[in-house]
Amino acid sequence: MLSRSAERLYWLARYLERTENTARLLSVYMNLMFDMPMGVEVSWRNLLTIFGAEQAFLKLYEIPNEQNTMSFLLTDTANPGSLFSCLNAARENIRTSRELMPDEAWQQVNEMYLFAKNNVDTAANRRGRVLILNEIMRGCQCFTGFLSGAMSHDDALRFIRLGRSIERADMTTRILDIASVILADDRSDKTRQYENAMWMNVLKSLSALLMYRKHGRHRIRSGDVLDYLLKDPDFPRSVVHCINEVEAYIKRLPRSEVLTDNLATLLSSLMATDIYHITPVQLHKLLDDIQVRLGVTHNQIASTWFLAAH
């Protein structure tokens, strides 16, 4: 397949996964905030931290309250990382690679885009926002469904899944980063009291609650949750699972020999880390390292297969 097409499909998948993850995260975070009593050190600002967007936010807004944070992360197209911006970018990538996939896939993304565009105003209130986020999450799932049911499992789909898995691993590390806030040594007693509720929401934001429970851990404890979301080989959004997938897709693509070392290093250092006895600072550093390694793999993908490689 064309290098140009591979690049567009990869980015399509990344942007769409980012769209879906953002929707899920915003939705869970809203739920969490509705539950939290006053005086707990979890704020809308933490949400900006997860997206690494505090500075960008302050350029456009002053106070990180619910209204501003939500508008910045959801609808504001001046923020390249907002859900709507990601959806626009996904749509532009699929609009320019329609010849590669089933029509329904394009129509699904296009419908989502039109839906978002027509509902910008309703996103200002909580109820409207919930509806939009649900619709977006549903739409992204439909897209994934169309592809697995109607697209050959060929190189084109491998680039889509490659983009999706890298983005997914990246997002999981970002969400877990909030643990460094939850676990901070100087947290108040009141925060400690709500710790369980927060971990539960972390699991929910990755659609992992049920699977975690079925995994045999009935209680929700920080060490268990972290270990599960980082290392479980079977859960589709755990970091290890995503990296294994990236590796599998890469190996089936042509000329991929040089790409596996970096992933192997990443996996072995992650598996060697004792998650149960990690300090918040060490955790933050570990997550950072994973993100940097994922960045290296991304660059290798670009320089092996994309147009710039020629």
Partner: protein
């Protein structure tokens, strides 16, 4: 209940659906009476459904001067245009005949030039044509076909005669909209299509693929086909992507292709370089190859012409085909049919006055207020004068331009283009239409069942181009069995 037809006024133009205020043409009677049973509200519901489908299917086109918003929804009118099957059979034959003759002509012009030697066309018309490419002299594409894909514009005059207005032999567009229009109609009027014998249009892609395979260089067993687009900002990008998808070809931009030292064309893929055998190019000649044509072209592929001349890649349409896509050369098509095919033309040309001919020029200048004057080489309805609709000032400006460059202009009588009922603010009014069927010629010939009907949405307007406020309609070739 008030009928939609109550206030429908046929004009002096030929109406495709109604022969008088109260009477439908036989081929349209079923559709006509069906529409009569709908009230305005019901019609509006269908119109809304069609608009929604267009948005969701993402059927778009781009307007060059539009900033910001890249793609615009395709303006579609839900009332179909009907042509009777028996009439269509004749048109189909006429179009095949025409393209065959045009290809013979192009092949002749780049080789022996018998048409000139026999004195059938002045040599100066060819030598002064900007579309004649000396680089193509001596080439013989497979089956002698240069223009493999042609879109001819047909118009119907007052008396019901269908004329060929022009033949687009360079990069004609619109066929994807023809196919998508039917998809929408199936959603909007499913019950009607069930009861009527309407010819399908979606077999075009299969024929396009067959044609492209047939013209591949002989050494390629399973030819690799690519559609070459100027890119995502081109007004017809939607169509390029649509066609590439329909025929399973790669959609490439110039930067994806490379001509290597062996004079073969390769595309940049994730496996490295892969050879391309047939290119359906949607880029104008002038931008095709910066090595030969415009040096500043960012859209083309350096060395493409070299590869084509070496016989390593087939290009559809072949470079230089545009020599026959010129409104002056157009006037010689009936003669081409007689000369090359030894047949009488089935479809008439619109009478045309050549400004290059001193006598005809005098006539044109004296009748500017009655004629349509067009540049010989432009497409898209740009730079033309519609005499009866023009102001005195516009006419005088044109007079000067024509006198300066007579070779570049032709004049034609202003035809009263036929009309078709069209939905205007939830009632029906007659609007002028034309028809662009698409003709393929490789090893075999093929004509689409109908084509793209374009409609001038503005009352009284004769300009149907989508870039200038035109829309389109689904076109039904109906077999009434009578």
């Amino acid at each position: 209940m008030a009928s939609l037809w109550d206030n429908y006024m046929v004009t002096e133009a030929y109406d495709e659906m109604r022969c008088s205020e109260n009477q439908a043409r036989p081929s349209s009677s079923r559709l006509s009476s069906y529409l009569g049973t709908l009230d305005r509200e019901a019609l509006d519901v269908r119109k809304t459904a069609a608009d929604l489908a267009i948005m969701e299917m993402g059927i778009t086109f781009t307007v060059y001067s539009d900033e910001g918003n890249i793609d615009r929804a395709w303006p579609f009118d839900i009332i179909p245009r009907i042509i009777e099957y028996r009439e269509w059979l004749r048109v189909e034959e006429g179009l095949k005949q025409r393209l065959k003759a045009l290809n013979c002509f192009i092949n002749d012009i780049y080789n022996e030039q018998l048409f000139i030697k026999e004195g059938l066309i002045p040599a100066s018309i060819i030598s002064s044509s900007t579309n004649f490419l000396k680089e193509c002299v001596g080439m013989q594409p497979r089956f002698g076909t240069w223009a493999n894909i042609c879109g001819s514009d047909l118009v119907r005059d007052k008396d019901g005669t269908l004329y060929v207005l022009e033949d687009n032999l360079r990069v004609p567009s619109g066929v994807s909209y023809m196919i998508e229009n039917r998809v929408i109609t199936k959603k909007v009027f499913p019950e009607l299509l069930q009861d009527l014998d309407v010819l399908p249009v979606d077999d075009y892609s299969a024929h396009l693929l067959e044609m492209l395979v047939s013209i591949a260089p002989e050494h390629s067993d399973i030819p690799r086909i690519a559609v070459l687009t100027p890119g995502i900002y081109n007004s017809a990008y939607f169509e390029h992507a649509f066609l590439a998808q329909q025929i399973g070809a790669e959609l490439v931009e110039g930067a994806d292709l490379l001509v290597q030292d062996d004079d073969c064309v390769y595309m940049r893929t994730i496996n490295g370089m892969e050879k391309v055998d047939v290119i359906y190019r949607r880029i104008d000649d002038q931008f095709l190859d910066p090595e030969v044509f415009r040096k500043d072209s960012m859209l083309g592929v350096r060395g493409l012409l070299r590869a084509w001349k070496a016989g390593n890649v087939s290009l559809a349409n072949a470079p230089g085909s545009g020599v026959a896509d010129d409104k002056v050369v157009y006037t010689y098509v009936p003669e081409m049919i007689r000369y090359y095919l030894n047949e009488e033309p089935i479809l008439p040309n619109v009478p045309t006055y050549l400004c290059s001919d001193p006598e005809q020029l005098v006539y044109v200048l004296a009748h500017l207020d009655e004629l349509v004057v067009k540049p010989a080489n432009e497409s898209g309805g740009y730079g033309m004068l519609v005499g009866p609709h023009a102001t005195k000032k516009e006419i005088e400006e044109f007079r000067k331009i024509i006198k300066d460059q007579p070779r570049n202009y032709i004049g034609q009588p202003t035809l009263a283009l036929s009309t078709c009922p069209t939905l205007c603010d939830n009632h029906l009014e007659p609007r002028h239409i034309d028809l662009r069927p698409f003709i393929l010629q490789g090893e075999n010939s093929f004509v689409t069942a109908g084509g793209l009907t374009r409609v001038a949405l503005k009352k009284g307007s004769l300009v149907v181009n989508s870039s200038q406020g035109g829309g389109s309609k689904d076109t039904w070739i109906i077999n009434t069995g009578t």
